[in-house]
Every structure is written in structure tokens, then in C-alpha cells.
Symmetry: C2
Subunit: 396 residues, 2 copies
Amino acid sequence: MNFEFYNPTHLIFGAGTLSKLGEVVSKHGSKALIVTGGGSVKRHGVFDKAVSSLDTAGVAYAECAGIDPNPRITSVKRGADIVREQGCNVIVALGGGSTMDAAKVIAAAALYDGDPWDLIGHGQENWVIPTETLPIVTVPTLAATGSEMNCGAVISNHETKVKSFVQTEALFPKIALVDPELTLSVPKDQTAYGVCDIITHVTEGYFNGADGTPIQDRFAEGTIINAIAWGKKAVANGSDLEARTQVQWASIVALNGFVQAGANPAGFPVHMIEHALSAHHDITHGAGLAIVNPAWMRFAAKARPDKFVQFAERIYGLKPERSDDLECALEGINRLEAFLRSIGCPTRLSELGIGEELFSKYAEDAALVLRDEDGNLLGRPAMSKEDIAEVLKTAL
Amino acid sequence: MNFEFYNPTHLIFGAGTLSKLGEVVSKHGSKALIVTGGGSVKRHGVFDKAVSSLDTAGVAYAECAGIDPNPRITSVKRGADIVREQGCNVIVALGGGSTMDAAKVIAAAALYDGDPWDLIGHGQENWVIPTETLPIVTVPTLAATGSEMNCGAVISNHETKVKSFVQTEALFPKIALVDPELTLSVPKDQTAYGVCDIITHVTEGYFNGADGTPIQDRFAEGTIINAIAWGKKAVANGSDLEARTQVQWASIVALNGFVQAGANPAGFPVHMIEHALSAHHDITHGAGLAIVNPAWMRFAAKARPDKFVQFAERIYGLKPERSDDLECALEGINRLEAFLRSIGCPTRLSELGIGEELFSKYAEDAALVLRDEDGNLLGRPAMSKEDIAEVLKTAL
């Protein structure tokens, strides 16, 4: 347990808080770039409410709409150009994880003269670490990535088919304005993928973290238990504000550092494998995770049954025969997979029409980013290219 | 669940991290005021190690030693005077909760020309809210108050016999440098009182918080379960570094906002009652809490058995007959009290030689601070002066 924790983002949470947007943004700038995704914020009136709040507070704005899922570095460049042309001095992300991730990197790229792709780090040489950004205000409209209150961003390069990420202090939003009402209109499938994303963030830290972190384990288990219980309700009835609220809070704690602090996870193998898949196929991140996570868990449980037994016991109340009871461990994984299926997530690649043609390519891409700065393989157990291909095979 | 969360303190945690002190402090100032308590840091060599690390990094220092338990506003004034005389520009707190609390207010008082007592807020008119401080680096030598990573400080005025507190953003330490090795020499009784303090911080939020916070409930329960398990080990064997590490981490999360975020507790009645006691008697805070908390819990359980039943179920595995099974709720409280006794905490006022002579005075003092800005009574249930006196009677 040797670690650092730092998260200076000021969180403002609660139903109805969107109305505070103008007041909040006005403390950080006079002209906002509003970054949005595919248009749902306009269809559901969220954009108008946001603009009206900015207007009331005397904050002008420009717009960068149309950020795609798996956001592209070309969109980042477009956003940074608008900032410069229009003289924006604060960035407001109004959307899901892709929109927030793009907005964070736009906030850095606007102050950087070179190619924005330089700012995206892991796995590439000559990474230019962003050290300053325009102030960022995140307003999530989906409970999933936790991007609203962390300093990470995942960006894709469609030219090179690389999906990579950057995580550095300068990217912490100044403010995360989180209004669960904005998620009431999220359709069932996206709600379910979000729930899967939340659970996977927690399981990655839980299963790949260091030993001897009993408090973090309880935090992780508490988050998973609630993501399952309230996720089920949010999928069943999208208008259930209490369920939306709990799922949103789970999404924040799952990846803002609270739950993982000190667990120091040795990589996020499930995410790295999913990124390699979605760099080649336009699949929703959460759906990809629903396929990869159970497959990875079965692989890892064989190497390290104890932690998976604890998962089975504490999440599902199963009674192991021994602390390394693999059968019990696998039953816990089966239950999680059954839950994901029950809320409508795919759990096999074939359901998305993905075959084994490019397995070695996915494995190679994932292995490239699933290693530390010295080239050591990451994950518990540490995963080679061959291990990754094996996991993918069991997910067919 | 409408709330804000903000905690910009940079936490550096782990055995051996004291050696980083100089490097860390040098980023925030060139001459430190080292604030210490009764001398144990000198006896155990911690002071010398700290100074040596500052020396290596080229940081000069002055010293403000002798901060008492239940730190006094006169000590704060003395510290602020040394800062001015010696030209210090960063404050290093090296000690327990009292030392850290005093150091925080010294950091504010050094930049304030009036009487430092003006800066201590709750319950007094004309509170001057501190808005700027010298940078603060906390180095706790005791796992208890959580002061290392929050923006609160409790200060006593011996002239007026008032123990009050201040909690405001400016008092967040820049850095909390938390090295569990520094707690290896803490004697059994102080270790036990610290464990009680940690548990009470969590139960205050858990029982006085809003309804509908299932994730926070799990976080709280996970912290309590571990504070009990590892607290027992740390008291049994003070050299158990793993136990010391877990207790230290529990102390941080118990009061840095992680566990309570969104629970919005309606006051900290047990703390307010204990403060009223220790303003009149020089008792260790954690020992006072061990007496007041079970008594308060029995009082509150009658008004609101459900939450206490959940506590009994999840902490002690008890099986209630109904969700409002008061007998089960009280058995959970008995178990907690028995645990506190087992580690050597007093659980009755008579053990400290305190009788009922001043009960109405304690009740009056506690009631003064156990109310919101509009004068409404706080606590769940809201507590009148008479309720407080009733709780004290059952603690005789």
C-alpha cells in the first residue's frame, strides 16, 4: 500500500443541478466551447437548458457538435480550431464519455501548437504530456465512463487504427456538474452498457490490484452490489430517478480513484482488449466489455482463484468449500455474466458478428498497451499476446 | 442525494514516505514551521528524520513545539507569532490530530491580523471565515482524527471553556504525507482511542445521514468492519505494520469525505457531546467518544431502529426478525461497546471520574453547536438539550 491519491475536481451532484451550469462556468471563463455528441442533448432539451443557464450568467458560447462514440483525434483537432477561432476560454462537455474525453483533450490541444495526437500517450514514443489546459466543466448525460471526475481520456486514431489513452493531472475537470435527471432519457441498451462499464471499472481494479487492500475490496464490492441492484432497476424503468441517481454515483466512484486508491492495479487488461476490438469495429465500449470481462475473469480465476472466490461470496452470497474453490469462483463469474445478459448486454463476439479473423491483430494491439514503461507485461496474471488471443477465443 | 464533494489534498501514503518530506515541502516553501505536540516525535526519532529530510532538500525550519491535546487557541497564536518572527512560508504538522488541527489554524492565523479566535466558527457570531493560509503539509503520527486530509480543525478556548471547530476550503492541506511506520510506537491506549475515533467518524455519518445512500452505507460498513478487525490487531501488537497501515487508511477515508459524500449528515451529535465534555475535563477525545457513542446509539436506535438493524446485520452478521427489530439493533450496539471495552476503551463516564454535576452545562454547550445556521436542532433524531442530558445519564 504505497500510493498517491489526488483528485481536485469539484463535484456538484444531484437532480436539477444543470440549472447551476451558468453560475459555475462563469467562475472559470466568459466564453464556453460546448462540446456535444450525436444530437441527443438537443432532442431532449438538455442543450437548450444548458445554453439558457449560460445566457443568464452572461457566458457566451461556441459549439463543437458531433463527437462520435470512440472519439477521434480529428474531432479533437476540429474542437481546438473552434476554440482558437472563436476565442473560447472554458470548455463545457455535455454528453457521454466520448464527448467528455474529447472535450478534455480539446482543452489541452487548444493550448498546444503541434499535432494533437502527440498528446495521447500510452504505447507511443515521443508522448507530449499535457501540462496545461483551458478549464474543463463536465456535464455527463450518461452514467458509464466516470470520465466526469477523472483525468483520463480515450481517443482513437482512425488513420492508424489505434485507440489509445492519456491520463495526467492537467486533464482533471475543474467542475463535474452531475445531474442524474439528464440520464432519464438514455435508452435501455445504452443504460445496460453503462452499467457494464461501471462494473468493469471496478472489477479491473479489484482483480488486478495489489494484495492486502481489505478496505478497497469492501468499497469495490459495495459499488458492484449497488451497480447490479440499481442497474437492473434503471434498465427496467428508465424513469426511476432513484435508480438513475445510484447508478450515476456508482459510475463516479468506480473511476475517480476512491475505490481503487492504493490498490494500484497492474493494468486494465479487459479495457485494453476491448479497445483493440473497438479500434477495428464500431462497437459500444460497454457492450465490448460485457463480452471480454467474463472471458478474462475465467482466464484469471484459474491463475488466482482466491480473489474470485471472495467475489462470489461477497457479491452473490455463494458458499465456497475452500478459499481457492475454483468451482465457486467460476459460478460467481457465471452469475455476473447472466446478469449482463439479463439486462441485454451481448456476452459473445459472435453476437456482434465478430469472428476470429483478426484475433492476432487485436492481441498484438492490446499487448502493445498492456505493458509498463519498461516493457513488462501487465495484468494479474501478466498477459502475453498469446494469453490475450486465448481469452478472445473463449469469447467467440 | 444533492451534494458537493471537493478535496484537493494530494495524499502520499505508505511505509517509509517520511523520507520524501523535504522534497515535498520544498515545492511549497523555503522555510517551514514544524508544529509538534508533547515530544513523542523527538523521543522516537521522527523529528530528526523529518529535519534531516528538510535539510537535504535545502528547506530551513523553525519550531512550534508543545501543542496540547485539545489544542488551545493560545498555542495557535504562539505558532502564528513564530511564523511572523521567523519568516516561515510553509507549515508542517508533525503529530496527532491536535497538532494537525493547530497547524491548520496557525497557517490561517499567520495571514490574519485580528484575534485568531475570530477564525473559529461554529456557534459564535462574527465568525471570520479563513480564505487564505500558508501551504500546509500534514504528517500524522497517529491514526485517529483524519485531520491529515480534511479541512476541519477543532480548537479550544480555555478562558471561555468553549471547544469549537472550523471547517472551510482554505484549510485543506496541500499535501498529506502519511507514513504508517510513524504510528508503530503509539501506545496501546492511544491506539485504541484512535480506533474508536475512526469508527465514530463513520457511525456519525452513517446514522445521521440522509436516507437512500446505499453505496455510502457499504463504504461505511466496509470501513467499520476493517477498523474493528485491524484495530484489534494493532492494539494487540503495535509492531504489526500491516495492521497499522490498514488502521491509518481507515482513519483517512473515515473523514476525508469519501465515505460520507452525499450522506449529508445532519450534525455529528456524538462529537458535539464529547467536545462539551472535554472542554471541561482533559480527557482524550477518542476515550470520550467510546463513552458517548454507544449511549447515543441506544438513544437513536429507539427512534429509528431500521438503520441500527442494518448495522447489526452487516457488521456483526446478526439475524433480525424484522427490519425494525429493536432487540437486534441493541445487540449490535452491545457488540460494538464490547469491542471498545475489549481494546481498553472506557465506556462509562464514571470510569473517568465524571459525575452528573455539570450535565446541564455539557448539554447546554453541546446543544449550542448542534444546530444549523437557522437554529434548527441537528442529529437524527434532532436533539434538544434535554435529549443530550438523557444520553449522558445513560452513560454514567
